[in-house]
């Protein structure tokens, strides 16, 4: 059980009024709020330890390096990777996917080869592959989904062909909340020697993830959705695969020696971290990992499960409300519409009541097309959200109706 009162005290931003109402923050799938523990870690770093990493012999540089590398170890432990060498710091899930597309997949891709994704991917797990297809003449295949918002796996075996060079799959859908059966899907892909990348941006803040147990080849996530700052994330890759990959970007820190004739690249993971990294971000991410670990991923998942069940029950009782995504296995995301009222209008009116939700296509336009809408309203939950806040959301929805249905 989470101690909600204590958790809410950790997040200073929650204790404010918006438009004269207490803030109810239900836009966690877009970005989470940050606890004092993360804010303080970043601020302490800048106040006490700031210097460049992996370079100086002076004390500050050593402390910065220790903190930066300490965060890498924390992320390794968080994902249960085998080695720190398998954790590459990146700007976020988007950058990680682009890195894998260009550095792992592209060198082995020929015209006519295939890349397999699913219909419910975030644009970050669509566009890098489309770009790769344009560059190489490869073909993008898509696992379909049903109206419940689950992947339709009836043709999955056929989509895994001898030409498929990678399966890139979201762990949890940001637009629908669906938790995909990735472990089985990874096993099926591996049975045909197809490597698998998992986009875990929506998963890591809400459930425990074990990359060895999943046996995925790559797992990527963004820090800012799990209480860390923006501009930092991590790429996990199996060491033998990362070893074989060429560097993605060139620059300082990713080299062992440079002459005008030849450059010898650095070892893992530094080979993929060109230039001075986002040191403070990585330290913040380390603090966020500590925070999630202290709360317990399973406790967070149980709490959010309670919230989504309650919200779904209330939404189902409203005749004019439609829920998008009713998969039996779901994370804390409620995507919905109100009859005859556009999601943007809902969002504006809820904001007047202090309730922050996301409205729009959620960077998943194919999902919107699937349901024949251009946008949905989305409430997404975090560990600091309460049942009372869901009641506030539904009271605010009454204000929406009042405004529109005179």
């Amino acid at each position: 059980m989470l101690d909600l009162q204590a958790i809410r005290q950790d997040f200073p931003i929650l204790h404010q009024q918006v438009n004269g109402q207490p803030l109810v923050y239900l836009d966690n799938a877009a970005s989470s709020q940050k606890p004092n523990q993360v804010i303080d870690a970043i601020s302490d770093y800048y106040r006490q330890d700031n210097a460049n990493v992996h370079r100086g012999v002076h004390r500050l540089s050593q402390r910065a390096t220790d903190a930066y590398e300490g965060s890498r170890s924390k992320v390794r432990g968080f994902l249960n990777a085998k080695s720190d060498k398998e954790i590459v710091f990146v700007r976020g899930a988007t950058e990680a996917i682009n890195l894998i597309a260009q550095s792992f997949v592209r060198p082995q891709l020929n015209s006519g080869d295939e890349i397999l994704i699913s219909h419910m991917e975030h644009h970050a797990n669509i566009v890098p592959w489309q770009m790769l297809c344009e560059q190489t003449g490869a073909k993008l295949n898509v696992i379909p989904m049903n109206l419940q918002g689950e992947l339709d796996l009836s043709t999955f075996d056929d989509l895994l062909t001898a030409k498929t060079k990678i399966l890139a799959l979201g762990h949890v859908s940001n637009a629908l909340g669906t938790i995909n059966p990735i472990k089985d899907m990874i096993a099926k892909a591996h049975a045909k020697d197809i490597p698998v990348l998992i986009d875990g941006a929506q998963a890591v803040p809400h459930m425990s993830v074990d990359v060895q147990q999943l046996d995925c080849d790559f797992y990527v996530f963004s820090g800012h959705k799990m209480f860390a700052p923006t501009g930092i994330g991590a790429l996990y890759g199996k060491q033998d695969l990362l070893e074989k990959m060429p560097p993605w970007q060139g620059g300082g820190d990713m080299i062992l020696s440079v002459s005008f004739e030849h450059t010898q690249y650095n070892e893992l993971p530094y080979k993929f971290e060109a230039g001075t990294p986002h040191i403070a971000g990585a330290i913040g991410l380390g603090a966020a990992v500590d925070y999630v670990t202290a709360l317990g991923s399973d406790c967070i998942a149980a709490h959010e499960h309670q919230l989504i069940n309650y919200a779904t029950e209330r939404a189902n009782a409203e005749k004019d409300m439609q829920i998008f995504g009713q998969a039996p296995v779901k994370a804390g995301i409620l995507s919905f519409a109100l009859d005859g009222i556009h999601p943007h209008d809902i969002g504006t009116i809820l904001d007047q009541e202090g309730v922050a939700i996301r409205t729009g296509h959620h960077c998943a336009m194919p999902v919107m097309t699937h349901y024949g809408v251009s946008a949905t309203a989305r409430a997404s939950f975090g560990p600091y959200n309460t049942i009372d806040e869901i009641d506030v959301l539904f009271r605010a929805m009454d204000k929406v109706r009042e405004m529109f249905r005179q």
Binding site: H344, T348, Q352, G360, M365, S374, Q406
Partner: protein, 152 residues
Amino acid sequence: MTELRDLYQAVILDHNNNPRNYGKLTLANRHAEGVNPLCGDQVNVFFRLGDDVSVKEVGFEGRGCAICMASASIMTETVKHLSVVQADQYVTAFCSLAVGENSYFTGRLDLSTLNILAGVKAYPARIKCATLAWHTARSALSKGGASVTTET
């Protein structure tokens, strides 16, 4: 809620529920599509210009929020029967009004109908909803506009 009612006035809700000049014009000779890629709103604006380069017929179709739809509807009523030059002046006047600024045409044109959308200036995230149809109209009316297509 009072402040919100400034945005969602009865007239605006009426335009949203019963948009004027809604539908594709079969005899259009000017057309442009306007999209808001951030939110997925989409508006198509059609004009039939006469030989005197004035708006004989105007129509729109699309999908978007109440502000977007109402603004598109009001735009069509505003520019109907105007010359292309006058219509463009109204676009300028409206886009200024939506951000709470005056333009050269403020006080020179009758903006009383457009003023019911002025409440949008208090909601910066929604201003682009209000201006989408107007920008699209300008694009359709300006001959060299990149997104303008001519249909017969």
